[in-house]
Symmetry: C2
């Protein structure tokens, strides 16, 4: 059995700079995890539909979506599960939804480190 393809899900924005920041955020994961790629929930490509359609065409039927979101609000509790249900039907795929990355304590520790670095760089 093949490993599921990992989809790093970002919200998406019509602002290209926003998407570029996300691509930079995803780069270390893409370099370390086989078979992973970025997709956007809305407003940018590739969409979840695009990457799942491509994956199925390449013989992958198992996907795991890891939300690059700091917390779960309406999008992750309602919109994304509804999109997943539809995508599973349309593409004959199995799609798991992982918790948003912000629920892991490592993120809070990284935020502390970033804030402390910012304070060192620009002391009051």
């Amino acid at each position: 059995m093949k490993s599921p393809r990992i989809i790093l899900l970002a919200h998406g924005s019509s602002d290209k700079r926003w998407c570029e920041t996300f691509e930079q955020l995803a780069a270390p994961t893409l370099a370390s995890v086989n078979n992973a790629q970025v997709a956007y929930m809305e407003l940018a490509e590739p969409s979840m539909d695009t990457v799942i359609k491509e994956g199925v065409a390449e013989g992958t039927t198992e996907f795991r979506i890891v939300p690059l979101f700091l917390a779960a609000g309406r999008h992750l509790r309602k919109d994304v599960p509804a999109m997943i249900e539809e995508l599973e039907k349309v593409h004959g795929a199995t799609i798991q939804l992982a918790p948003p990355i912000g629920e892991n304590p490592l993120l809070g520790q990284a935020i502390r480190d970033v804030v402390m670095l910012q304070l060192e760089e620009t002391p009051a």
Copy 2:
């Protein structure tokens, strides 16, 4: 001169669980950085207006807003700067806006660590 008060700015949500996740994300920073607190851009309290009003009442006039956002989109490029301009006028405060935490490479490394831990916990 007193150090600026640090405001960890989150988007905000009407979903209490969303705000609770952010409070957990902010906890390590609040434990390590003096004079820091959380505020929400919209949909939740305390708002930026509330924390700046309170800070000024306590004798603080210098604030630094650190956005707990993974990337800068419309909110951080337009809405928040406009809110800051208004808050500076209304409260006679000086408010700096720091880059969003997601622009620091430490965040991308933390995301990689979280994704790899998730994969170890739920192997394919």
